[in-house]
């Protein structure tokens, strides 16, 4: 029961990644691609946490946390770049 629901959730998240990559490939400006990068990061952080939960290794949570912190840094630097400075 729970496994089936989680498999459906995983398929939906994979669809979200596909749509974000579509916007990444098509986006007319660089800012659209930055939005796609943001969405992909927000989908992959729960993916990493799910990988930690199902493999039972707690150290994987640290990777998700580090990725959240550093993607914030990357998107902020992109915003500063678009705003003529860095």
């Amino acid at each position: 029961m729970a496994d089936t629901i989680l498999l459906i959730a995983l398929v939906l998240a994979a669809g979200a990644v596909l749509l974000a990559v579509l916007r990444l490939l098509r986006g007319p400006t660089a800012a659209d691609r930055a939005v796609a990068l943001d969405v992909m990061t927000l989908v992959f952080v729960p993916g990493m946490v799910a990988l930690a939960v199902f493999s039972g290794r707690k150290i994987y949570l640290d990777v998700a946390l580090v990725y959240g912190v550093l993607s914030f840094l990357g998107v902020m630097s992109l915003a500063r770049y678009f705003d003529r400075g860095i």
């Binding site: 990559v21 990444l24 660089a30 990988l51 990725y67 550093l70 860095i86």
Partner: protein, 78 residues
């Protein structure tokens, strides 16, 4: 979930090839960041959290910031 790994590999190849072909350099930098995200997930999937964390630190933050500083300094973006 081998199909998910295959999907991530396929997306990684597509995004990396597009990063070499796109005209706007900032878009190429963002695509390199996406490739870093996907390869970090693959490292984690293969059971190497330390490598994944290093890839996250270098690929998501350091490479993006250094490329953007270099683009700004050289004035290649306009």
């Amino acid at each position: 979930m081998i199909w998910l790994d295959a999907l991530v590999c396929l997306l990684m190849i597509v995004v990396a090839v597009t990063a070499t072909a796109v005209k706007n350099l900032v878009s190429a930098v963002i695509m390199v960041g996406v490739v870093s995200l996907l390869v970090s997930y693959l490292f984690l999937r293969m059971g190497a959290p330390d490598v994944a964390m290093t890839e996250a630190a270098i690929g998501a933050a350091l490479t993006t910031v250094i490329f953007l500083i270099a683009l700004r300094r050289t004035g290649e973006d306009r």
